[in-house]
């Protein structure tokens, strides 16, 4: 399935997220994948996913302008494909 604005998701508990100057590094201890998150706003969204009932709510809470929402949906969807983010 792909992630939409209505999806409830969270950082996979097997993932360690390490903040970096360019954004963050995410390492998945299950599949051993290393993922580079290169946009600090996306990092903030990922860290906040579990606190809100949908992705849209997270974006609203973080004050992301709706014009930018499609790119965030795409980013979280790609993180879902690489198992960094999971649907809850």
């Amino acid at each position: 399935m792909s992630v939409t604005l209505e999806t409830a998701c969270e950082l996979d508990p097997r993932v360690s997220l390490r903040p970096e100057r360019f954004g963050a590094l995410a390492y998945h201890f299950g599949n051993r994948k290393l993922v580079f998150l290169q946009n600090p706003d996306v990092v903030a969204v990922v860290q906040d996913l579990s606190r809100h009932s949908t992705l849209a709510d997270t974006l609203t809470a973080l004050g992301v302008h709706p014009d930018r929402w499609p790119s965030f949906v795409a980013a979280v969807d790609s993180l879902h494909s690489s198992e960094i983010v999971r649907v809850r």
Binding site: S16, R18, E20, L25, Y27, F29, R32, L34, F36, Q38
Partner: protein
């Protein structure tokens, strides 16, 4: 941010390594002719269990994701499992390399019960004739027995780790089949002229024709074969192979050796690439963040003699260790430059001075080789 911007950022270094290699002992029961750390005898200064655990605590605080544990033969340490369990407790992933000697049915079951653990069984030939010529008589059978134990203990997908040489470069497909048979993953890495490899490299490194084969084979197999990003010097042959295509030494990776010295990478155990010691003021963290050596490695690359070639963006001038231990300038071509610039430079140089490794723990006599390996 584009991929090249990311690489530019990584080249400036991170506050902590993504991963690092930690060689926990120089002791080894084998005497492989290409051993990168010239291992054999235990060093009396080897870190104690308490010191080793303190290293792991510091790496936990730095949020280092995983460590590559090697040696020597890491399982030779009496406290091997204690160290492993402390890493697991600290949520640090461990990938350890072993020749398999100490993996029996019992230890295989214990290893299979652990989390965050990857095992790399070193194998440098698809048969005992090829493997044992480099790793010593009986080492092929030992590695195969270890793999059987891991399979029987349901360890899961362990790794078969191959250093590609002139003698096994034509066996890549067979290695892949062997790995598939065990439900294992194949990992192939580049031979460097480091440690005892200084003496054996010229006999063992792949030919130019084989480098092309390796490139084509890797290009065809994509990310199903692990390489530790070690073949980026081949990228001048065509589209880039999977990976970051950069040297990570002192930028995103480094080496802690068995006595706590910190080097830029596992292949440069030499004073020139020693950044400090974990026992220095500020510990490993300060060495990583502030050592003069690592700061210099994070400066923009010097393209040097490669500037006239036009392929530097592809191959990045190759591997620092390979250049250093063949006597080539660090801002010149790699000795295995696929366009032959390295070979040409080595041929035409009036004098080539090969540096000696900082420390050598080889045993006095090298035993158990089926045939003599000529020394340059």
């Amino acid at each position: 941010m584009s991929a090249s911007n990311l690489v530019a950022q990584l080249k400036q270094g991170l506050d902590a390594p993504i991963c690092l290699t930690w060689e926990i002992t120089y002791a080894c029961n084998l005497q492989c002719v290409h051993c990168l750390s010239s291992s054999g005898r235990r060093d009396p200064r080897e870190l104690s269990t308490a010191q080793a655990k303190a290293v792991l605590d510091e790496l936990r605080d730095l949020q280092v994701f995983y460590i590559n544990v090697g040696g020597g033969e890491p399982m030779i340490r009496q406290d091997f499992f204690e160290i492993l369990e402390h890493a697991e407790h600290n949520k640090i992933g461990v990938k350890f390399s072993t020749n398999g000697t100490y993996i029996d049915a019992t230890s295989a079951r214990r290893l299979a019960s652990m989390n965050y653990l990857d095992i790399q069984i070193s194998l440098d030939g698809i048969d005992s004739a090829t493997n044992d010529a480099v790793r010593g008589i009986g080492s092929f059978a030992v590695a195969m027995r270890a793999m059987d134990h891991l399979r029987d203990a349901n360890f899961g997908a362990f790794k078969i780790s191959v250093v590609v040489t002139r003698h096994n470069a034509n066996q890549l497909e067979e290695f892949k089949t062997l790995a598939d048979t065990y439900g294992a993953q194949l990992r192939i890495t580049r031979l460097r002229p480091s440690g005892r490899g200084i003496d054996s490299w010229s006999d063992l490194h792949p030919t130019q024709a084989q480098q092309r084969q390796i490139y084509d084979w890797l290009a065809a197999h994509g990310e199903s074969v692990l390489t530790g990003d070690s073949f980026f010097h081949l990228n001048a042959l065509g589209p880039a192979l999977p990976g970051l295509n950069m040297c990570g030494a002192g930028r995103v990776v480094c080496l802690i050796d068995p006595i706590g010295d910190v080097y830029a990478c596992p292949f440069v155990i030499h004073d020139q690439f020693k950044a400090g010691s974990i026992f220095d003021w500020g510990g490993f963290t300060n060495v990583w963040r502030n050592s003069e050596l690592f700061e210099s490695l994070r400066q923009p690359d010097s393209v040097g003699a490669c500037v006239s070639c036009g392929n530097y963006d592809s191959c990045q001038g190759g591997c620092m260790a390979a250049k250093f231990f063949t006597g080539l300038p660090l801002d010149g071509p790699d000795p295995e430059c696929v366009l032959g610039h390295g070979e040409e430079l080595l041929r035409s140089a009036a004098v080539v001075i090969i540096p000696k490794p900082a420390i050598d723990h080889s045993r006095g006599v090298r035993l158990n080789l089926p045939q003599p390996i000529s020394v340059r």
